[in-house]
């Protein structure tokens, strides 16, 4: 059993198991050292692989911001749209391609601050999209400004003496708007996140997954949260899994407690179910 060849493998770039889903010609990617958007993105690619659904059946749409760059790294049909408009773009794409799995992969600023109106309407319509929101509490790309998800009293470059506004509770908002699948994980719950994404892929209707992630460069530094490692350790330490609780109780306090888990997983007629019921596809009549 001891016969083992220890090869000096560090130097030789082999093929990463996700290379078939990754635009390797664009690696290394843009995200900062220790920023865990990459981990969430990797988890999403793993979920695509584990879902056993034909890769060609997936498309990714993302908006503007650090996380928005994800569409540029996935080796599938992907679209990098304007700030906040990933969801309506994805709605149009989904209507044109009902059988495809459309993933909206974007950040908290893009999806909820500027794009909030589109988010709640897509959830209300229960259109079949999987929305993955990497929530790092700030606008990272532009250097760490306050967002609708920035914790109260947190420092950002536009709230130098502390954020005086209260952030959204994203799962509560998604559930209230009509999402049929809502879950939240921290990036360290990688395997739970991956299986949650697979569940979302197979879910009929609007599914939303929030991933609590660090922005060590801007938000982390301005609020003295320590190194990237400290942040994800801290988030994990204070996170507690409470599956099935009412999303309004999904507390998110980056100092004391982060409630994670799957909060909503119910069945409801989707946009297409109702469209076909009330507007049954008729045979094509001449113009």
């Amino acid at each position: 059993m001891k016969k083992q060849i220890v090869e000096e493998l560090n130097g030789m770039p082999g093929t990463h198991p996700l290379s078939s889903l990754l635009r390797e010609d664009r690696m290394p990617h843009i995200w900062c050292p220790g920023c865990d958007i990459g981990t969430v993105f990797s988890s999403c690619l793993t979920a695509i692989h584990e879902s056993k659904i034909d890769y060609n059946n997936f498309a990714m749409v993302s908006g503007i911001g650090c996380t928005g760059r994800a569409a540029g790294y996935i080796k599938l049909d992907s679209f990098h749209t304007t700030h906040g408009r990933a969801i309506p773009f994805a709605t149009g794409l989904k209507i044109a391609k009902p059988k495809m799995k459309i993933i909206v992969f974007s950040g908290d600023g893009d999806l909820f601050t500027i794009g909030g109106n589109h988010f709640i309407h897509a959830a209300r319509r229960n259109i079949d999209l999987t929305v993955i929101c990497v929530n790092n509490f700030t606008y990272g790309m532009t250097g760490g400004q306050v967002a609708s998800t920035t914790p109260f009293n947190s420092k950002t470059s536009t709230t130098p003496q502390g954020n005086f506004e209260k952030p959204f509770n994203l799962p509560y908002m998604a559930a209230a708007a009509g999402a049929v699948y809502v879950s939240r994980w921290t990036t360290l719950d990688v395997r739970r996140l991956t299986s949650s994404i697979v569940e979302a892929f197979n879910k009929k209707g609007f599914s939303f997954i929030e991933v609590i992630s660090s922005c060590p460069t801007s938000f982390g530094r301005k609020n003295k949260l320590g190194s990237p490692l400290d942040i994800i350790q801290h988030f994990h330490k204070i996170s507690v899994i409470k599956n099935g609780i009412h999303p309004k109780d999904a507390n998110l306090d980056i100092d004391k407690e982060i409630v994670v888990g799957k909060f909503v997983d119910m069945e409801a007629p989707t946009f297409f179910d109702l469209l076909e019921k009330i507007y049954p596809p008729e045979t094509e009549k001449g113009a």
């Binding site: 083992q4 220890v6 290394p28 865990d36 990459g38 990797s42 988890s43 990237p228």
Partner: protein, 86 residues
């Protein structure tokens, strides 16, 4: 591995073996993999990659049990593990 007492099926359990590979130039030295490897197989090295980041190195390859947590936690797609039998 320290056990409180020897598990009854100690002999039958086959411990998987994994081979860790590092795509060095993608690594940005965040050390998540080193921190979260359950068997402390990895360690940050003094070596610099092309971009000037310290990369991990496989300190105890024989201890890797192919749990591939380093692979899934890595934000840079810079490390992966292949099964090597038991």
């Amino acid at each position: 591995m320290k056990y409180w007492r020897k598990p009854l099926d100690y002999e039958d359990i086959k411990i998987p073996r994994g081979k860790v590979s590092i795509i060095e130039d993608r690594c940005k030295g965040c050390s998540f993999c080193v921190e979260y490897c359950p068997r402390d197989v990895l360690e940050m090295s003094e070596h610099f990659n092309k971009k000037g980041y310290h990369t991990p190195y496989v300190r105890k390859p024989e201890d890797c049990v192919n749990c591939n947590f380093c692979e899934v936690i890595c934000p840079e797609f810079a490390i992966y593990v292949e099964k090597m039998g038991e």
